[in-house]
């Protein structure tokens, strides 16, 4: 029989991933590895702090882990001097949309021609599931045990805010909530790199990623929660495509 699906041994080396069961971050790594294998030259990666930093050992290319939230500007500085390289920043929602929101916003405004993959699981997961900018209203976290209420502010539609800026060449939100969602994520990442290669501006893929551990659900419920709740607040789809490049 013929092999029709095979995980990347390179990505999994040496002992597999350290994410929790059902965490979407492994799916992102596998998709990214797949996409990178089809590129002429590997991108360089800058990884934020958070659960994303468990990705560093498995990235399909050279990787630098930098301070929390500022990965976009770190990557921009590198790209300014190495416009010939594909540069990819990997950030969580806490870093990209919370702590580093200023830098993220102005990276978009400047249209830095890098690709940012934002893994949005709606909590500060690495530190134990605290309130994040993206947490849905009503959702219980370890710092909002009775649920996110009005005094904690409303969920921030950060990608929609960035999409208003002319510097963003491509922005797509995808969801790890089904096999189809995972395939769309892989395609979106591929598209983002293609647009970056054309030098059009900032490319962003936001991935709604399940965090069963801190959402206090089983893994299948976490997918349902994305489909039924998260993606109604953060709708999936292409928000910006100023690339002019073919799909």
């Amino acid at each position: 029989m013929k092999v029709v699906a095979e995980p990347s041994a390179e990505a999994l080396a040496p002992h597999g991933f350290d994410f929790c069961p059902g965490c979407g971050y492994g799916s992102v790594l596998l998709a990214l590895t797949d996409v990178v294998a089809s590129l002429e030259r590997k991108p360089v990666f800058m990884v934020d702090i958070g659960c994303v930093d468990f990705m560093t050992a498995h990235m399909p290319g050279d990787v630098l882990m930098g301070p929390h939230g500022r990965t976009s500007v770190l990557a921009s500085g590198y790209k300014r001097m190495r416009p010939d390289r594909l540069v990819c920043a990997i950030q969580g929602d806490g870093g990209f949309m919370g702590l580093g929101a200023t830098e993220s916003l102005h990276t978009a405004a400047r249209g830095e021609p890098i690709t940012i993959i934002v893994l949005n699981n709606g909590v500060l997961a690495d530190t134990g599931g605290q309130l994040a900018a993206t947490t849905l209203s009503g959702k219980a976290t370890s710092t909002t045990p009775a649920g996110r209420a009005s005094q904690h502010g409303a969920p921030v539609p950060f990608l929609e805010m960035l999409a208003m800026l002319g510097g963003v060449a491509y922005a797509e939100r995808v969801a790890i909530d089904s096999a189809l969602g995972i395939r769309r994520m892989r395609r979106a990442i591929g598209k983002a790199f293609a647009v970056q290669g054309s030098g059009a501006g900032l490319t962003i893929v936001e991935v709604l990623s399940p965090c069963p551990t801190h959402w206090r659900m089983d893994t299948v419920q976490a997918w349902e929660y994305i489909r039924e709740s998260v993606s109604t607040v953060y709708p999936t789809g292409v928000l910006v495509d100023r690339s002019g490049a073919p799909e």
Binding site: M1, K2, V3, V4, A5, E6, P7, S8, A11, L12, H15, G16, F17, F19, C20, P21, G22, C23, G24, Y25, G26, S27, L30, S178, A179, I182, R183, P212, D218, T219, V220, W223
Partner: protein
Amino acid sequence: MTKTTGTVDIAEQLCKGCDLCVDVCPEHVLAMTDRLNTKGWLVVALVADGCTGCTLCADVCPDGVFTVYREERQPTGARR
């Protein structure tokens, strides 16, 4: 009606027993076992005939557990 046949290899050491594959498998041929791997996670197993090699389990598995095999579709007139 002909049906494609397939099978899967399961890298038990990578499995965390998250159950997503069991949920998506359209043929219901995967199930959680009560075995633990050396990391302490329950592992999944192929427990019945009927795998079609559709790759949904591999698509959804966040830990790269599955290698999927499928019998080549034969030209008209082939067996089955």
